[in-house]
Subunit: 339 residues, 2 copies
C-alpha cells in the first residue's frame, strides 16, 4: 500500500505518518511507502525510515508528479492556516483552493487512463461554520449544520469539501472530507493560526514561559487532542463508503471546552503556579476571528465509526506531558512543571 | 450608471437588458451603458441600442479587460448548463468555476487601487440543493436549507456562492448571490440543460410540434417565469445590503408545480389538442438528474424585498403567448394554438 500525506512534515501530518508506520498496515494491507509532501523536509526520525519518501517543495507545482506515482490513499492535510489567509487573501486562495483543485485534477487524470480512483481523506475544519447575519448558528454545530464561514480559510475549506464530493460522485476519487476540530496541545512555537493560543495557554506555562490569552475566559470551543485527531483520520481512511455515509463532510469528534475549563484542567494536572503564568489580554483581531467560530460541535457520523472525543481536557494535558517526556528534546518543554 | 451583464446575449440576460434599457434607470440613476458579454453577439434589437456595447468572446479571457471599464453593477449570468456540465466535467469547471473566479479576481484588483467595490448580482441556482445519502432534503428547500448538490453544475454554483460571500466580506465586492428557479417558458430551441423539457412541454405543442416529457407526470419542481426572474435580479441589484440580509445566497420566488399541473394549465389556456401533443417517454439520464433536484422551494428573504412568485402556471403560459405575439417573428411559435 502506497500512501501520500500532503503537509506531511507538519505537526498533524508527521504524527499521522508515525502512527501509520508504527502500525505497519492500513486496511489490513502492509504499508510499503509513505510519501511526505511539504514545503519543508520531514523530521529526522521520519526521514530515516526506509519506507518514507520526502517530496519537498511547492505542492501546487508538485501535484502532477505526485499523482504519477503509485498511490492507494492520499491524506490531503496541507493548508495555509486561518490567520495567514485573513492577512493574505491571495495566499489562502493559492494554498487552499488552487492547490487542492490541482491535486484533485491530477488524481482525476489518473482515472481517465483506467487507474482505479484513489481514496482521499481531505482535512476540512470546524472553521467552515460561523454566524451569518441571515443564518443563526446553532449552539452545537452538527454534521448537517448549514456552514456559513466567516473567514477565508473556512470558505476555502468548505469549497474544497464540495469539490471533493463532486469528484467522488463522478468516480474520479473515493473522497472523504472530515472537519478537524482545533487540535490542541500543539508542541513547538506559536503559528499564524488564530487558534494558536488554544495550544499556547497550556504549552507556554508548562515550559515555564508566560502566555497571553487573547480571548475571554468564557470563550467556548470544540477541540481534539493530536492522538484522537490522527485516530479519526485513520478510521475514515479505513471506513467503507457505506460506513462513511454520504459524500458530505463529517465532523470529527469534539471535546467542547471553555478557556476557563482548559485552565482549570491545567491547574489540576500541573498546579497553580503553572496556571498563574497565563494572563488575559484581549487581541481584537484574534477575538474577532474566534467569535465567528462555533462554540461547540457534535459528531454523530463519526461516533457510528466508533470514534469518540477525548474524555476531558486534563487527559489532553497529561497526553501532551507524556509526549514531551517521550521526546528526545522534550525536557525543555516541561521546564515549568513542578516535580 | 455603467452595467455589465455576462451571458448578456442569452435568454435571461437579453431579457434583463431589455427591461433595464426600457426602465432607463437603476437605483434611481440613469443607465448610460450596458455591456453585454457573451460567446455570441447580442440580439439585433439590443445591438441597435446606442447604450449597448457588445463584448463577444470567451469570458474567461475577457475578465481583465471587462474589469478595466467603468462599472457600477455586474449581473453575472454566464454559465454552462446542467446537462453540459454532467457530460463534460472540464467544461463545467472552466465555464462556471474558473470564469467566475477570474471575474471576481479582476473585480478584486480594481479595489486594490482604490476603486469602490462593484455591486455584483450572481445567478446561482436551485440546483445547489439535492438529496445526499447523509442528509435528508426537506420537502420545501428554504434560503437556509443545507445545500448538498447532486450535479457538477449545482456544485459549481454553490462553490461560487461562497466565493462571492467571502470576496464581499473582504470588501472586494458588494456581492449578492441569488438562486434562480427553473425559468420557464423559454422560447426558441431546446438547450442542453436537463431542465430544458420544463419549457419544451409547453413551447413545442404551442408551435404545433410534438413534445416528449422525459419524467413522470407527478414530478414536482419550483419554476419561475422569465419576467419574475428578471424582476428578482433587478430588485436584488437595487436592495441595500441590510435589505438583502447577510452574505449567503437568497432563493428567488418559486411557483411550485408538477408536470401534470403544468399540462393542466396548458390545456386550460390552449385547449386539449395542444396538450395532446405531449407524450411521456422516460429518459433515464434526464430523470436521474431531475431526481436530484428539489421538488419545491420557499423564498422568505425575497418576499421581504417585495418579491412574489408567479400566481399560477396558466399565467406563465399566457405570458409566453403574449411575448410571442409581441415578437416580430413570434407567429411561428404559436402555429399550434387554435384561434
Amino acid at each position: 500500500m502506497n500512501l501520500l500525506i500532503t503537509g506531511g512534515a507538519g505537526f498533524v501530518g508527521a504524527r499521522l505518518a508515525r502512527t501509520l508506520l508504527s502500525r505497519g498496515t492500513l486496511n489490513g494491507r502492509p504499508i510499503n511507502r509513505v510519501m511526505l509532501a511539504d514545503q519543508v523536509p520531514p523530521p529526522a526520525d521520519l526521514a530515516a525510515d526506509p519506507r518514507v519518501q520526502a517530496q519537498t517543495g511547492d505542492l501546487l507545482s508538485m501535484c502532477d508528479s505526485l499523482a504519477a506515482e503509485p498511490l492507494d490513499i492520499v491524506f490531503h492535510l496541507a493548508s495555509a492556516v486561518s490567520g495567514e489567509c485573513e492577512a493574505d487573501f491571495g495566499l489562502g486562495l493559492r494554498s487552499n483552493l488552487d492547490t487542492t483543485r490541482a491535486l484533485l485534477d491530477a488524481l482525476r487524470r489518473r482515472t481517465e487512463v483506467g487507474t482505479p480512483p484513489v481514496r482521499l481523506v481531505y482535512s476540512s475544519s470546524v472553521a467552515v461554520f460561523g454566524p451569518d447575519p441571515a443564518v443563526t448558528m446553532p449552539a452545537v454545530v452538527a454534521d448537517d449544520t448549514l456552514p456559513t464561514p466567516q473567514t477565508s480559510y473556512g470558505t476555502q475549506k468548505l469549497v474544497c469539501e464540495h469539490l471533493v464530493a463532486d469528484y467522488t460522485r463522478k468516480g474520479y476519487l473515493d473522497g472523504r472530507a472530515v472537519r478537524l476540530m482545533t487540535v490542541t496541545v500543539r508542541p513547538g512555537k506559536p503559528n499564524a493560526a488564530a487558534s494558536s493560543f488554544f495550544s499556547g495557554i497550556v504549552r507556554e506555562p508548562l515550559a515555564g514561559l508566560p502566555a497571553v490569552c487573547p480571548v475571554a475566559p468564557d470563550t467556548a470551543h470544540p477541540v481534539s487532542s493530536p492522538a484522537r485527531t490522527v485516530e479519526g483520520l485513520i478510521a475514515v481512511a479505513e471506513a467503507s463508503r457505506e460506513a462513511f455515509g454520504g459524500r458530505t463532510a463529517m465532523n470529527l469528534p469534539a471535546l467542547n471546552v471553555t478557556v476557563a475549563g482548559m485552565l482549570d484542567a491545567l491547574e489540576a494536572v500541573a498546579g497553580p503556579a503553572v496556571r498563574a503564568r497565563v494572563r488575559f489580554e484581549r487581541d481584537a483581531r484574534i477575538a474577532g476571528i474566534v467569535a465567528g467560530w462555533p462554540r461547540a460541535a457534535s459528531a454523530v457520523r463519526a461516533s457510528r465509526l466508533g470514534l469518540q472525543p477525548d474524555p476531558d481536557f486534563a487527559t489532553i494535558v497529561r497526553q501532551y506531558i507524556a509526549d514531551c517526556e517521550a521526546a528526545p528534546d522534550g525536557a525543555r518543554a516541561l521546564q515549568g512543571l513542578p516535580r
